[in-house]
Amino acid sequence: MRSFVEWLDTHAWSTALHESLWMYPLIESTHVLTVMLFVGMLAMVDLRLVGLAFRNVAVSHLTGRLLPWSVAGFVIMIATGVLLFYAIPVRTYESVWFRVKVVLLIAGGINAWWFHRRVQRDRTFWDNHPKPPTAVRVAGGVSLAIWAGVIVCGRMIAYNWFDCDRDPSPFVMWMAGCVVEASM
């Protein structure tokens, strides 16, 4: 994994993107602003699942009509996110925040899978109910918490408190996978 990231770092395009005057800020801004579409639409659905918004609208109507917008936002998020990683591969790979963010992304995926495969199976019973059963509300609440965590971690990647070259604590060194260079 590390050699792959270091190989990316040798790409001329990676350096060019990182140092570009307009491309990097534009991709970064697109990544940030798409949070309104991706997390914004998802949050509306989650709030309905928890029973805090759109209580008179069927859950299936929200998932059917809002999730496609959210998925479109997610696609833009992944595309711009990959480019941002490509521009600064080694530092991002060694970022504690980035690593927590990836774990949360996976957790978000599992929660979504769980909701669509298991929780939604008996949806006909509670589709129109203003306050869905506990399992549904938990899935919605967990989703809100996970994506809030993803946003916070994503923002924090930009700060260098825990960077390997700042001699972080041994725990952070281990978390970030810092390479300790032997001194002569």
């Binding site: 801004s29 940030v32 309104m36 914004g40 209580r55 609208v57 700060y159």
Partner: protein, 154 residues
């Protein structure tokens, strides 16, 4: 005008944030959480005004349900945005993006409460009017967000 910004820069709130390593990023992260919520609560209504999204619910029903979340995220945005501003008031004074954002924000608030929400609550509003209002709202709030992000680059 500059003297006002200079004095705002000197407030204890601004100074505390400047002297702290964590406060600015922490407040900024919460500001971003508010952005997601604001985006969702604006989009869901504007999409409906444009004839997309929750079409099985009426426009007034969608607006009524989204409004508390819009107001809540607006409160969150102001209560985090003002401290962020106080910590770098002078930088903002010289920052074009800041002025673009503030102008768009003022337009957005007046337009949302004065025009968009009123038209949305009327059941007899013609389709072209609701669509136009939805499109303008989307553009204005997008400008607020984009200019806000750009404050950090300049």
């Amino acid at each position: 005008m500059f003297e006002t910004f200079d004095r705002l820069e000197q407030t204890w709130i601004g100074q505390t944030i400047r002297e702290s390593l964590w406060l600015f990023p922490g407040i900024e992260a919460v500001h971003l959480l508010g952005l997601a919520m604001l985006g969702g609560s604006v989009l869901v209504v504007d999409l409906r005004l444009l004839g997309a999204g929750l079409t099985r619910a009426t426009v007034p029903a969608v607006l009524s349900s989204a409004r508390p979340w819009f107001l809540g995220s607006l409160v969150l945005m102001f209560s985090t945005g003002i401290p962020l501003f106080l910590s770098e008031a002078i930088k903002c004074y010289y920052n074009t993006s800041f002025w673009v954002k503030m102008s768009a924000l003022a337009i957005g608030i007046v337009f949302t409460f004065g025009v968009r929400n009123r038209i949305a609550m009327r059941r007899d509003a013609p389709r072209w009017a609701t669509a136009l209002v939805g499109a303008i709202s989307l553009m204005v709030w997008f400008t607020v967000a984009a200019a806000g992000r750009w404050i950090g680059f300049s």
